[in-house]
Protein backbone atom coordinates (compact mmCIF):
# COMPACT_ATOMS: atom_id res chain seq x y z
CA UNK A 1 0.00 0.00 0.00
CA UNK A 2 1.38 3.39 -0.95
CA UNK A 3 1.62 6.19 1.56
CA UNK A 4 -1.05 8.16 -0.28
CA UNK A 5 -3.56 5.34 -0.33
CA UNK A 6 -2.81 4.66 3.33
CA UNK A 7 -3.49 8.29 4.22
CA UNK A 8 -6.73 8.14 2.28
CA UNK A 9 -7.73 5.00 4.13
CA UNK A 10 -6.91 6.47 7.53
CA UNK A 11 -8.70 9.68 6.71
CA UNK A 12 -11.81 7.88 5.57
CA UNK A 13 -11.75 5.74 8.70
CA UNK A 14 -11.41 8.85 10.84
CA UNK A 15 -14.37 10.42 9.12
CA UNK A 16 -16.43 7.27 9.42
CA UNK A 17 -15.61 6.63 13.06
CA UNK A 18 -16.01 10.20 14.29
CA UNK A 19 -18.92 10.89 11.98
CA UNK A 20 -20.69 7.86 13.36
CA UNK A 21 -19.81 8.91 16.90
CA UNK A 22 -21.12 12.42 16.30
CA UNK A 23 -24.24 10.91 14.75
CA UNK A 24 -24.90 8.74 17.81
CA UNK A 25 -24.15 11.69 20.07
CA UNK A 26 -26.70 13.69 18.09
CA UNK A 27 -29.31 10.96 18.42
CA UNK A 28 -28.79 10.93 22.16
CA UNK A 29 -27.86 14.52 22.85
CA UNK A 30 -30.36 16.35 20.67
CA UNK A 31 -33.50 15.11 22.46
CA UNK A 32 -31.88 15.70 25.83
CA UNK A 33 -30.85 19.18 24.77
CA UNK A 34 -34.33 19.94 23.45
CA UNK A 35 -35.95 18.74 26.66
CA UNK A 36 -33.58 20.65 28.92
CA UNK A 37 -33.91 23.68 26.69
CA UNK A 38 -37.69 23.71 26.53
CA UNK A 39 -38.82 22.47 29.92
CA UNK A 40 -38.76 24.80 32.84
CA UNK A 41 -38.00 22.61 35.81
CA UNK A 42 -36.33 23.06 39.14
CA UNK A 43 -32.69 22.22 39.03
CA UNK A 44 -32.30 23.11 35.40
CA UNK A 45 -29.19 25.21 36.09
CA UNK A 46 -27.81 22.14 37.83
CA UNK A 47 -28.46 19.89 34.86
CA UNK A 48 -26.98 22.45 32.49
CA UNK A 49 -23.95 22.90 34.74
CA UNK A 50 -23.41 19.15 34.87
CA UNK A 51 -23.45 18.79 31.10
CA UNK A 52 -21.19 21.82 30.73
CA UNK A 53 -18.77 20.38 33.23
CA UNK A 54 -18.76 16.98 31.55
CA UNK A 55 -17.31 18.65 28.48
CA UNK A 56 -14.03 18.69 30.43
CA UNK A 57 -13.75 14.90 30.37
CA UNK A 58 -10.08 14.10 29.71
CA UNK A 59 -9.88 11.61 26.89
CA UNK A 60 -7.05 9.58 28.37
CA UNK A 61 -9.08 8.86 31.47
CA UNK A 62 -12.24 8.19 29.53
CA UNK A 63 -10.28 5.81 27.31
CA UNK A 64 -8.88 4.09 30.36
CA UNK A 65 -12.26 3.72 32.06
CA UNK A 66 -13.90 2.41 28.92
CA UNK A 67 -10.96 0.10 28.38
CA UNK A 68 -11.60 -1.42 31.78
CA UNK A 69 -15.25 -1.86 30.83
CA UNK A 70 -14.63 -3.28 27.38
CA UNK A 71 -11.67 -5.44 28.34
CA UNK A 72 -12.18 -9.24 28.11
CA UNK A 73 -12.42 -9.41 31.84
CA UNK A 74 -14.45 -6.21 32.13
CA UNK A 75 -18.22 -6.14 32.58
CA UNK A 76 -18.77 -5.37 28.90
CA UNK A 77 -16.02 -7.64 27.62
CA UNK A 78 -18.56 -10.02 26.10
CA UNK A 79 -19.37 -7.38 23.51
CA UNK A 80 -15.95 -8.02 21.94
CA UNK A 81 -15.69 -4.38 21.03
CA UNK A 82 -12.13 -3.68 22.12
CA UNK A 83 -9.67 -2.82 19.38
CA UNK A 84 -12.44 -2.37 16.87
CA UNK A 85 -13.59 0.89 15.29
CA UNK A 86 -16.87 0.40 17.11
CA UNK A 87 -15.16 0.74 20.47
CA UNK A 88 -13.78 4.09 19.36
CA UNK A 89 -17.19 5.12 18.09
CA UNK A 90 -18.79 4.34 21.43
CA UNK A 91 -16.04 6.12 23.34
CA UNK A 92 -16.10 9.21 21.18
CA UNK A 93 -19.88 9.33 21.27
CA UNK A 94 -19.78 9.33 25.07
CA UNK A 95 -17.08 11.97 24.99
CA UNK A 96 -19.09 14.38 22.85
CA UNK A 97 -22.63 13.89 24.16
CA UNK A 98 -22.10 16.64 26.76
CA UNK A 99 -20.99 19.03 24.02
CA UNK A 100 -24.03 18.15 21.92
CA UNK A 101 -26.37 18.59 24.88
CA UNK A 102 -24.79 21.82 26.08
CA UNK A 103 -24.85 23.62 22.76
CA UNK A 104 -28.30 22.30 21.84
CA UNK A 105 -29.74 23.38 25.17
CA UNK A 106 -28.35 26.87 24.86
CA UNK A 107 -29.58 27.17 21.28
CA UNK A 108 -33.06 25.92 22.03
CA UNK A 109 -33.33 28.24 25.00
CA UNK A 110 -32.63 31.21 22.79
CA UNK A 111 -35.49 30.45 20.42
CA UNK A 112 -38.42 32.78 20.99
CA UNK A 113 -40.86 30.78 23.16
CA UNK A 114 -43.69 32.04 21.00
CA UNK A 115 -42.52 29.75 18.22
CA UNK A 116 -43.51 26.76 20.30
CA UNK A 117 -46.86 28.34 21.12
CA UNK A 118 -47.38 29.19 17.46
CA UNK A 119 -46.87 25.59 16.40
CA UNK A 120 -49.18 24.38 19.16
CA UNK A 121 -51.99 26.78 18.38
CA UNK A 122 -51.78 25.87 14.71
CA UNK A 123 -52.46 22.30 15.70
CA UNK A 124 -49.05 20.71 16.17
CA UNK A 125 -48.67 18.16 18.94
CA UNK A 126 -45.84 18.36 21.46
CA UNK A 127 -43.33 16.65 19.21
CA UNK A 128 -44.39 18.77 16.26
CA UNK A 129 -43.86 21.87 18.35
CA UNK A 130 -40.42 20.63 19.33
CA UNK A 131 -39.62 20.03 15.69
CA UNK A 132 -40.70 23.58 14.91
CA UNK A 133 -38.40 24.94 17.60
CA UNK A 134 -35.57 22.77 16.29
CA UNK A 135 -36.06 24.06 12.81
CA UNK A 136 -35.68 27.61 14.06
CA UNK A 137 -32.40 26.75 15.71
CA UNK A 138 -30.81 24.91 12.83
CA UNK A 139 -27.71 27.09 12.95
CA UNK A 140 -27.06 26.14 16.55
CA UNK A 141 -27.76 22.49 15.91
CA UNK A 142 -25.31 22.53 13.04
CA UNK A 143 -22.76 24.07 15.38
CA UNK A 144 -23.48 21.46 18.04
CA UNK A 145 -23.00 18.64 15.53
CA UNK A 146 -19.94 20.25 14.04
CA UNK A 147 -18.36 20.86 17.44
CA UNK A 148 -19.12 17.27 18.44
CA UNK A 149 -17.70 15.92 15.22
CA UNK A 150 -14.63 18.10 15.59
CA UNK A 151 -14.05 17.08 19.17
CA UNK A 152 -14.42 13.43 18.22
CA UNK A 153 -12.15 13.52 15.22
CA UNK A 154 -9.46 15.47 17.04
CA UNK A 155 -9.34 13.36 20.20
CA UNK A 156 -6.59 10.85 20.75
CA UNK A 157 -6.89 9.19 24.15
CA UNK A 158 -10.01 7.18 23.50
CA UNK A 159 -8.94 6.10 20.03
CA UNK A 160 -5.56 4.99 21.28
CA UNK A 161 -6.83 3.12 24.29
CA UNK A 162 -9.89 1.52 22.76
CA UNK A 163 -8.75 1.17 19.19
CA UNK A 164 -5.09 0.44 19.74
CA UNK A 165 -3.95 2.22 16.60
CA UNK A 166 -3.89 -1.04 14.65
CA UNK A 167 -2.87 -0.54 11.05
CA UNK A 168 -5.69 -1.24 8.64
CA UNK A 169 -8.17 -1.71 11.42
CA UNK A 170 -8.29 1.10 13.93
CA UNK A 171 -5.60 3.53 12.90
CA UNK A 172 -7.15 6.93 12.44
CA UNK A 173 -5.71 10.34 11.80
CA UNK A 174 -4.98 11.37 15.37
CA UNK A 175 -3.41 8.07 16.37
CA UNK A 176 -1.34 8.19 13.23
CA UNK A 177 -0.30 11.76 13.96
CA UNK A 178 0.66 10.81 17.51
CA UNK A 179 2.63 7.83 16.27
CA UNK A 180 4.49 9.76 13.63
CA UNK A 181 5.23 12.47 16.13
CA UNK A 182 6.57 9.95 18.62
CA UNK A 183 8.64 8.42 15.86
CA UNK A 184 10.08 11.78 15.04
CA UNK A 185 8.39 11.85 11.64
CA UNK A 186 7.57 15.49 12.17
CA UNK A 187 6.73 16.31 8.59
CA UNK A 188 4.45 13.34 8.20
CA UNK A 189 2.75 14.09 11.52
CA UNK A 190 2.11 17.69 10.58
CA UNK A 191 1.11 16.61 7.09
CA UNK A 192 -1.54 14.32 8.52
CA UNK A 193 -2.78 17.13 10.76
CA UNK A 194 -3.04 19.35 7.72
CA UNK A 195 -5.04 16.65 5.96
CA UNK A 196 -7.36 16.45 8.96
CA UNK A 197 -7.81 20.19 9.15
CA UNK A 198 -8.30 20.62 5.43
CA UNK A 199 -10.93 17.89 5.33
CA UNK A 200 -12.71 19.40 8.32
CA UNK A 201 -12.51 22.89 6.87
CA UNK A 202 -13.97 21.69 3.59
CA UNK A 203 -16.76 19.87 5.40
CA UNK A 204 -17.57 22.77 7.68
CA UNK A 205 -17.41 25.43 5.04
CA UNK A 206 -19.67 23.34 2.79
CA UNK A 207 -22.04 22.85 5.70
CA UNK A 208 -22.21 26.57 6.37
CA UNK A 209 -22.61 27.35 2.71
CA UNK A 210 -25.39 24.78 2.58
CA UNK A 211 -27.04 26.10 5.74
CA UNK A 212 -29.52 28.21 3.84
CA UNK A 213 -30.47 25.30 1.65
CA UNK A 214 -30.76 23.05 4.68
CA UNK A 215 -33.10 25.56 6.26
CA UNK A 216 -35.12 25.67 3.09
CA UNK A 217 -35.14 21.92 2.82
CA UNK A 218 -36.30 21.51 6.41
CA UNK A 219 -39.31 23.53 5.50
CA UNK A 220 -40.30 21.32 2.61
Amino acid sequence: MTLASEIVEITLRSLFVSGFAAFIATLIGLPIGVLVGLRKFRGRPLVKGVFNGMMAMPTVALGLILYLLFSQTGPLGFLQLLYSPYAIIVGQAILVVPIMVSITTETIENVDPSIRELALTLGADESGARAAVLRESIGGILLASSASFSRAISELGVALMLGGNIVGLTRILTTAIALETARGEVALGIGLAVVLLVVMLVINVSLRLAEKRVRWWLWQ
Partner: protein, 308 residues
Amino acid sequence: YTGQTLGKSLLTVSTTTSLFDTGVLDTLKTEYEASHPDIILAFISAGTGIAITHAKNGDADLILVHSPSHEKAFMDEGFGVNRKILAYNFFTIVGPSEDPANISGVDASTALSRIYDYGQSLNSSIWVTRDDNSGTNSKEKQLWAAAGFDYETIKEADWLVSSGTGMGATLRMATELELYTLSDIGTYLKFFADGLIDLQQLVVPSESLLNVYSAIAVNASRVEGARFNLAMDFIAWLVDSSAQETIGNFGLEDYGQALFLPAVGVIESQTSNEIYGWIRSYAFFDYDGTLYECPPPWREGDYGLYQS
Protein backbone atom coordinates in the same frame (compact mmCIF):
# COMPACT_ATOMS: atom_id res chain seq x y z
CA TYR B 1 -11.68 1.07 6.14
CA THR B 2 -14.14 0.08 8.84
CA GLY B 3 -11.53 -2.55 9.60
CA GLN B 4 -13.15 -5.86 8.82
CA THR B 5 -10.91 -8.75 9.77
CA LEU B 6 -12.59 -10.70 6.98
CA GLY B 7 -12.37 -14.10 8.58
CA LYS B 8 -8.71 -13.68 9.43
CA SER B 9 -7.52 -14.39 12.93
CA LEU B 10 -6.35 -11.45 14.93
CA LEU B 11 -3.21 -11.90 16.98
CA THR B 12 -2.91 -9.10 19.49
CA VAL B 13 0.54 -8.17 20.67
CA SER B 14 0.87 -5.77 23.55
CA THR B 15 4.08 -3.84 23.46
CA THR B 16 5.78 -0.79 24.89
CA THR B 17 5.76 2.52 23.15
CA SER B 18 9.51 2.87 22.76
CA LEU B 19 9.76 -0.43 20.97
CA PHE B 20 6.74 0.17 18.78
CA ASP B 21 7.83 3.68 17.91
CA THR B 22 11.08 2.47 16.40
CA GLY B 23 9.09 0.89 13.59
CA VAL B 24 10.78 -2.50 13.74
CA LEU B 25 7.50 -4.14 14.57
CA ASP B 26 5.89 -2.79 11.41
CA THR B 27 8.62 -4.46 9.37
CA LEU B 28 8.13 -7.74 11.20
CA LYS B 29 4.36 -7.44 10.78
CA THR B 30 4.67 -7.04 7.04
CA GLU B 31 6.86 -10.12 6.75
CA TYR B 32 4.82 -12.24 9.09
CA GLU B 33 1.50 -11.40 7.47
CA ALA B 34 3.01 -12.14 4.08
CA SER B 35 3.82 -15.66 5.14
CA HIS B 36 0.68 -16.08 7.24
CA PRO B 37 -2.13 -14.69 5.10
CA ASP B 38 -4.85 -15.77 7.52
CA ILE B 39 -3.40 -13.78 10.42
CA ILE B 40 -3.59 -10.13 11.24
CA LEU B 41 -0.95 -8.95 13.63
CA ALA B 42 -2.18 -6.15 15.83
CA PHE B 43 0.36 -4.30 17.92
CA ILE B 44 -1.05 -2.37 20.81
CA SER B 45 1.52 -0.02 22.21
CA ALA B 46 1.34 1.58 25.60
CA GLY B 47 3.46 2.25 28.61
CA THR B 48 4.97 -0.88 30.08
CA GLY B 49 2.45 -0.89 32.92
CA ILE B 50 -0.60 -0.75 30.69
CA ALA B 51 0.94 -3.12 28.17
CA ILE B 52 1.15 -5.74 30.87
CA THR B 53 -2.32 -4.88 32.15
CA HIS B 54 -3.65 -5.55 28.64
CA ALA B 55 -2.20 -9.03 28.75
CA LYS B 56 -3.49 -9.72 32.23
CA ASN B 57 -6.95 -8.63 31.17
CA GLY B 58 -6.97 -10.97 28.23
CA ASP B 59 -6.77 -8.18 25.72
CA ALA B 60 -3.48 -9.42 24.28
CA ASP B 61 -2.10 -12.78 23.33
CA LEU B 62 1.53 -11.90 23.62
CA ILE B 63 3.69 -9.20 25.10
CA LEU B 64 6.88 -7.71 23.72
CA VAL B 65 8.66 -5.75 26.44
CA HIS B 66 12.09 -4.85 27.75
CA SER B 67 11.83 -4.77 31.52
CA PRO B 68 13.02 -7.97 33.18
CA SER B 69 11.64 -7.03 36.59
CA HIS B 70 8.16 -6.46 35.18
CA GLU B 71 8.42 -9.62 33.15
CA LYS B 72 9.33 -11.69 36.17
CA ALA B 73 6.42 -10.37 38.16
CA PHE B 74 4.09 -11.03 35.23
CA MET B 75 5.16 -14.63 35.00
CA ASP B 76 5.30 -15.06 38.74
CA GLU B 77 1.60 -14.29 38.87
CA GLY B 78 1.03 -16.96 36.29
CA PHE B 79 -0.06 -14.69 33.44
CA GLY B 80 2.77 -15.44 31.11
CA VAL B 81 4.59 -18.49 29.85
CA ASN B 82 7.29 -19.33 27.34
CA ARG B 83 9.38 -16.21 27.64
CA LYS B 84 11.83 -15.82 24.82
CA ILE B 85 14.59 -13.23 24.62
CA LEU B 86 14.66 -11.89 21.07
CA ALA B 87 17.00 -8.97 20.86
CA TYR B 88 19.18 -6.64 22.78
CA ASN B 89 20.85 -3.31 22.46
CA PHE B 90 22.33 -0.73 24.74
CA PHE B 91 20.87 2.26 26.41
CA THR B 92 22.95 5.32 26.05
CA ILE B 93 23.51 8.41 28.08
CA VAL B 94 23.21 11.44 25.86
CA GLY B 95 23.79 15.08 26.51
CA PRO B 96 24.82 18.43 25.08
CA SER B 97 27.91 18.39 22.93
CA GLU B 98 29.61 20.89 25.27
CA ASP B 99 29.36 18.16 27.88
CA PRO B 100 29.59 20.39 30.96
CA ALA B 101 29.76 17.42 33.35
CA ASN B 102 32.61 15.97 31.36
CA ILE B 103 31.30 12.42 30.99
CA SER B 104 32.45 11.72 27.49
CA GLY B 105 34.01 8.27 27.15
CA VAL B 106 33.50 7.11 30.71
CA ASP B 107 31.27 4.28 31.80
CA ALA B 108 27.72 4.75 33.00
CA SER B 109 28.39 4.70 36.72
CA THR B 110 31.18 7.22 36.50
CA ALA B 111 29.09 9.36 34.23
CA LEU B 112 26.21 9.41 36.68
CA SER B 113 28.54 10.21 39.56
CA ARG B 114 29.97 13.16 37.67
CA ILE B 115 26.53 14.33 36.75
CA TYR B 116 25.53 14.07 40.37
CA ASP B 117 28.52 16.08 41.49
CA TYR B 118 28.09 18.66 38.78
CA GLY B 119 24.38 18.86 39.51
CA GLN B 120 24.90 19.39 43.21
CA SER B 121 27.24 22.27 42.49
CA LEU B 122 24.65 23.88 40.28
CA ASN B 123 21.31 25.44 40.84
CA SER B 124 19.91 24.69 37.40
CA SER B 125 18.81 21.44 35.85
CA ILE B 126 21.26 19.01 34.36
CA TRP B 127 19.48 15.66 34.07
CA VAL B 128 16.04 14.73 32.82
CA THR B 129 14.35 11.54 33.90
CA ARG B 130 11.20 10.06 32.37
CA ASP B 131 9.98 8.81 35.72
CA ASP B 132 7.17 6.85 34.06
CA ASN B 133 8.08 3.31 35.14
CA SER B 134 8.87 2.48 31.55
CA GLY B 135 11.60 -0.01 30.68
CA THR B 136 13.98 2.87 30.13
CA ASN B 137 13.02 4.37 33.46
CA SER B 138 13.57 1.03 35.21
CA LYS B 139 17.02 0.88 33.71
CA GLU B 140 17.78 4.38 34.86
CA LYS B 141 16.86 3.48 38.42
CA GLN B 142 19.24 0.52 38.29
CA LEU B 143 21.99 2.72 36.95
CA TRP B 144 21.61 5.28 39.70
CA ALA B 145 21.58 2.48 42.23
CA ALA B 146 24.71 0.96 40.69
CA ALA B 147 26.40 4.34 40.91
CA GLY B 148 25.47 4.48 44.56
CA PHE B 149 22.52 6.83 44.56
CA ASP B 150 18.93 6.38 45.60
CA TYR B 151 16.71 7.39 42.70
CA GLU B 152 13.85 8.43 44.95
CA THR B 153 16.17 10.78 46.82
CA ILE B 154 17.86 12.44 43.89
CA LYS B 155 14.50 12.87 42.20
CA GLU B 156 13.88 15.66 44.66
CA ALA B 157 17.08 17.44 43.67
CA ASP B 158 16.91 20.76 41.85
CA TRP B 159 19.19 19.65 39.09
CA LEU B 160 16.92 16.80 38.05
CA VAL B 161 13.92 17.34 35.85
CA SER B 162 11.15 14.79 35.75
CA SER B 163 9.55 14.81 32.31
CA GLY B 164 6.94 12.14 32.83
CA THR B 165 6.58 11.57 29.13
CA GLY B 166 7.75 9.49 26.20
CA MET B 167 11.32 9.05 25.02
CA GLY B 168 11.00 11.31 21.99
CA ALA B 169 9.56 14.19 23.97
CA THR B 170 12.16 13.68 26.67
CA LEU B 171 14.99 13.82 24.15
CA ARG B 172 13.53 17.02 22.77
CA MET B 173 13.38 18.47 26.23
CA ALA B 174 16.99 17.48 26.82
CA THR B 175 17.99 19.29 23.65
CA GLU B 176 16.03 22.41 24.47
CA LEU B 177 17.16 22.64 28.06
CA GLU B 178 20.66 21.23 27.45
CA LEU B 179 20.27 18.29 29.75
CA TYR B 180 21.67 14.81 29.97
CA THR B 181 19.38 11.82 29.88
CA LEU B 182 19.25 8.08 29.44
CA SER B 183 17.81 6.98 26.13
CA ASP B 184 17.15 3.80 24.31
CA ILE B 185 19.34 3.68 21.28
CA GLY B 186 16.50 3.30 18.77
CA THR B 187 14.68 6.53 19.58
CA TYR B 188 17.92 8.41 19.96
CA LEU B 189 19.28 7.37 16.58
CA LYS B 190 16.01 8.10 14.83
CA PHE B 191 15.63 11.57 16.27
CA PHE B 192 19.27 12.33 15.81
CA ALA B 193 19.25 11.22 12.18
CA ASP B 194 16.19 13.37 11.52
CA GLY B 195 17.92 16.38 13.04
CA LEU B 196 15.27 16.74 15.71
CA ILE B 197 17.73 16.65 18.54
CA ASP B 198 21.19 17.93 19.10
CA LEU B 199 22.53 15.50 21.69
CA GLN B 200 25.66 13.38 21.66
CA GLN B 201 26.13 9.80 22.81
CA LEU B 202 28.66 10.29 25.52
CA VAL B 203 29.28 7.00 27.31
CA VAL B 204 30.60 3.72 25.99
CA PRO B 205 28.21 0.78 25.76
CA SER B 206 28.70 -1.48 28.71
CA GLU B 207 26.99 -4.23 30.60
CA SER B 208 25.12 -1.88 32.82
CA LEU B 209 23.50 -0.23 29.82
CA LEU B 210 22.22 -3.49 28.37
CA ASN B 211 18.64 -3.51 27.15
CA VAL B 212 16.98 -6.86 26.49
CA TYR B 213 13.74 -7.40 24.59
CA SER B 214 11.68 -10.48 25.15
CA ALA B 215 8.37 -11.97 24.08
CA ILE B 216 6.07 -13.70 26.54
CA ALA B 217 2.97 -15.65 25.54
CA VAL B 218 -0.12 -15.09 27.64
CA ASN B 219 -0.98 -18.16 29.69
CA ALA B 220 -4.24 -19.45 28.19
CA SER B 221 -5.03 -21.53 31.23
CA ARG B 222 -4.87 -18.42 33.41
CA VAL B 223 -6.31 -15.86 31.01
CA GLU B 224 -9.44 -16.85 29.25
CA GLY B 225 -9.57 -16.34 25.51
CA ALA B 226 -5.86 -15.88 24.96
CA ARG B 227 -4.88 -17.30 21.60
CA PHE B 228 -1.98 -19.28 22.85
CA ASN B 229 -1.31 -21.31 19.73
CA LEU B 230 -1.21 -18.29 17.51
CA ALA B 231 1.04 -16.55 19.99
CA MET B 232 3.45 -19.48 20.12
CA ASP B 233 3.47 -19.68 16.36
CA PHE B 234 4.51 -16.05 16.19
CA ILE B 235 7.17 -16.48 18.87
CA ALA B 236 8.54 -19.46 17.00
CA TRP B 237 8.65 -17.34 13.86
CA LEU B 238 10.46 -14.53 15.67
CA VAL B 239 13.06 -16.95 16.91
CA ASP B 240 13.63 -18.21 13.42
CA SER B 241 16.80 -17.02 11.72
CA SER B 242 15.09 -14.98 9.01
CA ALA B 243 13.17 -12.91 11.52
CA GLN B 244 16.30 -12.54 13.61
CA GLU B 245 18.07 -11.27 10.53
CA THR B 246 15.35 -8.75 9.88
CA ILE B 247 15.69 -7.50 13.42
CA GLY B 248 19.42 -7.29 13.09
CA ASN B 249 19.25 -5.33 9.85
CA PHE B 250 16.63 -2.88 10.95
CA GLY B 251 17.88 0.67 10.78
CA LEU B 252 21.30 -0.20 9.42
CA GLU B 253 20.62 1.61 6.22
CA ASP B 254 19.09 4.70 7.71
CA TYR B 255 21.31 5.23 10.70
CA GLY B 256 24.47 3.35 9.78
CA GLN B 257 24.03 1.45 12.97
CA ALA B 258 21.73 -1.44 13.89
CA LEU B 259 19.04 -0.53 16.37
CA PHE B 260 18.67 -4.09 17.61
CA LEU B 261 21.03 -7.00 17.86
CA PRO B 262 19.59 -10.50 17.44
CA ALA B 263 19.72 -12.36 20.74
CA VAL B 264 18.53 -15.83 19.87
CA GLY B 265 21.80 -16.88 18.27
CA VAL B 266 23.81 -15.44 21.14
CA ILE B 267 21.83 -17.39 23.70
CA GLU B 268 21.80 -20.61 21.65
CA SER B 269 25.53 -20.60 21.09
CA GLN B 270 26.09 -20.00 24.80
CA THR B 271 29.52 -18.87 23.80
CA SER B 272 31.76 -17.44 26.33
CA ASN B 273 31.07 -14.24 24.48
CA GLU B 274 30.82 -11.56 27.15
CA ILE B 275 27.47 -10.45 25.73
CA TYR B 276 25.93 -13.81 26.60
CA GLY B 277 27.13 -13.38 30.12
CA TRP B 278 25.70 -9.86 30.33
CA ILE B 279 22.32 -11.02 29.06
CA ARG B 280 22.37 -13.95 31.38
CA SER B 281 23.08 -11.94 34.44
CA TYR B 282 20.78 -9.10 33.50
CA ALA B 283 17.76 -10.79 31.97
CA PHE B 284 17.74 -14.41 33.07
CA PHE B 285 15.54 -15.44 35.96
CA ASP B 286 16.69 -17.37 38.93
CA TYR B 287 14.93 -20.67 39.61
CA ASP B 288 16.23 -23.03 42.24
CA GLY B 289 19.61 -21.35 42.08
CA THR B 290 19.92 -21.65 38.35
CA LEU B 291 19.43 -18.84 35.82
CA TYR B 292 16.96 -19.57 33.07
CA GLU B 293 15.82 -17.58 30.09
CA CYS B 294 12.43 -19.03 31.03
CA PRO B 295 12.37 -21.14 34.20
CA PRO B 296 10.86 -24.61 33.55
CA PRO B 297 7.62 -24.14 35.52
CA TRP B 298 6.75 -21.27 33.22
CA ARG B 299 7.11 -23.28 30.11
CA GLU B 300 4.02 -24.55 28.37
CA GLY B 301 4.15 -27.14 25.60
CA ASP B 302 7.24 -28.02 23.67
CA TYR B 303 8.20 -25.58 20.95
CA GLY B 304 11.92 -26.34 21.05
CA LEU B 305 12.63 -22.85 22.27
CA TYR B 306 15.05 -23.65 25.02
CA GLN B 307 18.17 -25.74 25.31
CA SER B 308 18.18 -25.81 29.02
